[in-house]
């Protein structure tokens, strides 16, 4: 058991640190969602990409550094240490780019990966729908093939981060409703400026709009917009979701959800640091955050050995959300009513109920872990082997 850098990794860390030291004054201070801040953050991603720090694990032929998860962690740590923002398009570079690399055509990779990496083109993920969340294979957005091989797309997507900034979206649509639902899906690249695409911000509890709704009204997609085989979109989606789980499982500290940060907040009130109940609550929360940090090291060790991350990563997400909810509650209990309007902790309180469902609800994650890790039997399902087009009628029958 050794958390020290090997000589090679130490040398890599020194290079990364030197680059950041030299360039950190170019980094933007603002981290907001307004246009000027976003432009500055995109420009900074471009600088990071030029320095080889944006897509550490992508293959070199697509502009990445061709390195492993450990080097990615070194970059994350050094970016944190330098006090500068990381890349802007985490969803594109972290999840959608790797999906294109795994399933896209060579032409798609050549066309899209370069500008994605430099944030000249931002991407968004168009999977979830109002009626397809946990059961994302139930998407209803339809893509119909035309005689010339082009597609017509209609439907509605939701919970779309960065849709308002995006040049492209990776979209899961139904291409065949006459087969069971997982078998009639296809993944597409959708230009967000195409006619018929409209984006509406979705405000949440805090009043901020971190997500959007995206409406698709008879959008024309040219032939060759498919990623992976027609009707083979579910496998492509699973790749994206696997990268998402790794990102979330390893990502809590990136949001600043760390035991030491919450300790600092408690110091503001001397009495609370001696209060037995506050100490017990904080000790429990801190224990969870420490567990997450070292679970992350265990996951990294597996990744480094070439093992595919298992469903256990989903448990890290459950722990992250629970600990962050408890931390927001604790700090605001100490700060009193005023805490709820605090930029950091008030917003944490407001954001967490929604985040509990993001990237898989706690319930669906527990099902997944129970079935895949503990090998417990699944619940009986009403949709197995039933053509998608007949599902609604079956659901109505079951209720009646």
């Amino acid at each position: 058991m050794d958390l020290n850098d090997t000589p090679e990794l130490a040398e890599y860390r020194a290079q990364v640190r030197a680059w950041l030291e030299e360039h950190k004054r170019e980094a933007p201070v603002a981290r907001g969602d307004d246009e000027a801040s976003v432009a500055a953050r995109r420009a900074w991603q471009k600088r990071l990409a030029e320095g080889g720090l944006a897509a550490v694990t992508w293959p070199a032929e697509y502009g990445g550094s061709g390195l492993g998860p450990l080097q990615q962690v070194v970059v994350n740590q050094e970016i944190g240490r330098a006090g500068v923002p990381g890349i802007f398009d985490i969803i594109g570079v972290g999840m959608l780019g790797p999906t294109l690399i795994a399933h896209g055509s060579e032409e798609q990779k050549q066309r899209f990966l370069g500008p994605m990496l430099t944030a000249d083109e931002v991407w968004c993920q168009l999977f979830s729908e109002p009626a397809a969340g946990s059961d994302v294979a139930g998407v209803q957005t339809r893509a119909k093939r035309q005689d010339d091989g082009s597609w017509r797309l209609s439907g509605q997507k939701v919970w779309t981060t960065n849709a308002q900034h995006a040049a492209f979206g990776l979209l899961l649509a139904r291409t065949n409703a006459d087969v069971p639902k997982h078998k009639g899906l296809t993944m597409f690249v959708v230009p967000m400026d195409a006619e018929g695409v409209s984006v509406r911000p979705l405000r949440q509890i805090s009043g901020e709009a971190h997500f959007n709704e995206v409406f698709l009204d008879d959008v024309l997609l040219e032939s060759g917009s498919e990623v992976g085989p027609v009707d083979g979109g579910w496998a492509v989606a699973l790749t994206t979701l696997m990268f998402e789980r790794v990102a979330i499982g390893l990502g809590g500290e990136g949001f600043g959800w760390r035991a030491d940060r919450f300790a600092n907040a408690l110091l503001a009130d001397d009495a609370c640091t001696r209060d037995a109940e506050t100490r017990h609550r904080f000790g429990s929360i801190a224990t969870d955050f420490l567990a997450l940090r070292f679970t992350g090291y265990r996951m990294l060790t597996s990744l480094q050995r070439g093992e595919i991350p298992g469903a256990e990563g989903a448990l890290a997400k459950v722990t992250t959300i629970r600990a962050a909810i408890a931390a927001g509650d604790l700090i605001c209990d100490v700060l009193g009513p005023e805490g709820l309007s605090d930029e950091r902790f008030g917003e944490l309180v407001s954001d967490m109920p929604g985040l509990k469902s993001a990237g898989g609800t706690e319930e669906i994650l527990r099902n997944m872990v129970g079935e895949r890790v503990l090998a417990l039997p699944p619940e009986p399902r009403l949709d197995k082997g039933i053509p998608f087009s007949e599902l609604r009628a079956r659901e109505r029958e079951a209720v009646a």
Partner: protein, 372 residues
């Protein structure tokens, strides 16, 4: 970077499991509740080299670290094996660092047994070295040195039958006392696999150990880590047994493990186990590479493992339905283990308080540096 067990560490665990498989320790634990004698596992422990795990090579020990000791405890915890190492190992850690070499060597070989009379180190809110109260919440101050050891200590693990007592004193030093010089009254309760004693020192003759500052605190946190490791083993078994039952027991025409209410409860055991295991590795790594963080790591581990065992022991009974609460089933034995463990050596809750104290102290130090 590598945050997994080495081949040697995996082998140590396997060997421990092999050693312990020779006796049905769980059945023995049940019989002991009805008055039977527990099997003497000390000869097997000697053969495996466990008594000398934390003693350096120079003194005839294995010279291994806290992580290896935890791995053995994980295996002991799986089968509720009663081997008096919770008192012995922290005691040998102190003796190895500042005690007579011949005693350290006899303890490393297992020819004699020691028990630490532990004291909880001071914190940001408690200036004294404190010990377990007889009852209630107020923690008394540890025994003192006045040319001899004076004081009492309650609920001391493995004190009955020990040849030597290593007493942590109210000033953070430690003294070696022959057990014959002290009064040891057996106080084993509820979990008969865990011998306990009340100890009194009426000017008991002894020698001060030449330990370094910080050693007595490390001994306390080693004991915390060992209780945690034992809990990890017990949680793993509770999970395995419960999952197996949930697959075979049917209600309303399907296995109970297919119902989300049951499935999610079992996943919650796994979540607790997984978090505790990560912190166990953290504690093992800190003991070796980051001694400044060992207090934090061992306390976080003890807290996580204790809380998770508490939940797992109850969940195991619930998943089994009524049968899980019967004398014939193993679940109540794990429940007894969980119930006593959470109240020993400062308790599971005390460990959470210690995590808070360690982190608040660090934050204050950072604040002071920033203010300068």
């Amino acid at each position: 970077m590598n945050f997994a067990l080495s081949d040697e560490q995996e082998f140590l665990k396997e060997a421990a499991r092999g050693t312990l498989s020779r006796v049905d320790t769980v059945a023995a634990a049940r019989a002991a509740l009805d008055g039977a004698q527990l099997p003497d596992l000390w000869p097997a422990a000697m053969e495996a080299g466990w008594p000398g795990l934390l003693v350096s090579d120079d003194h005839g020990g294995a010279g291994l670290g806290a992580l290896e000791a935890m791995l053995v405890f994980e295996e002991l915890g799986r089968v509720l094996a009663s081997v008096p190492l919770l008192g012995h190992l922290p005691a040998t850690f102190l003796l190895d660092r500042g005690g007579p070499e011949d005693v350290a060597a006899a303890l490393a070989a297992g020819e004699q047994r020691a028990a630490i009379v532990p004291a909880q180190p001071p914190s940001d809110v408690e200036a004294a070295w404190t010990i377990e109260p007889v009852a209630g919440l107020a923690r008394p101050v540890a025994p003192c040195w006045d040319g001899a050891v004076v004081g009492t200590a309650q609920w001391v693990p493995d004190a009955p039958g020990a040849d030597w007592l290593v007493v942590v004193l109210d000033d953070g030093r430690a003294a070696l006392v022959a057990a014959a010089e002290a009064s040891v009254v057996p106080a084993t309760v509820y979990d008969v696999t865990r011998p306990l004693g009340h100890v009194a020192f009426d000017r008991a003759a002894g020698t001060l150990l030449e330990t370094a500052p910080g050693d007595a605190a490390t001994a306390w946190y080693i004991a915390q880590a060992l209780i945690g490791a034992e809990s990890v083993g017990a949680i793993a078994v509770a999970l395995e047994v419960s999952v197996a039952y949930a697959k075979e027991r049917h209600t309303f025409g399907r296995p109970i493990g297919s119902y989300q209410a049951v499935k999610h409860e079992l996943v919650e055991i796994l979540r607790g186990l997984d978090n505790a295991r990560s912190l166990m590795y953290y504690a093992g790594w800190a003991a070796q590479d980051k001694p400044d963080e060992f207090a934090l790591a061992a306390s976080a581990f003890r807290h996580a493992a204790g809380k998770a065992l508490d939940h797992a022991a109850r969940a195991q009974i619930s998943v089994h339905g009524g049968i899980g609460a019967t004398w014939e089933h193993d679940a109540p034995l794990y429940f007894r283990r969980a119930q006593l463990a959470r109240r020993l050596l400062g308790g599971t809750a005390g460990a959470a308080d210690r995590v808070a104290g360690e982190l608040l102290t660090r934050a204050r130090e950072q604040e002071a540096i920033a203010a300068r």
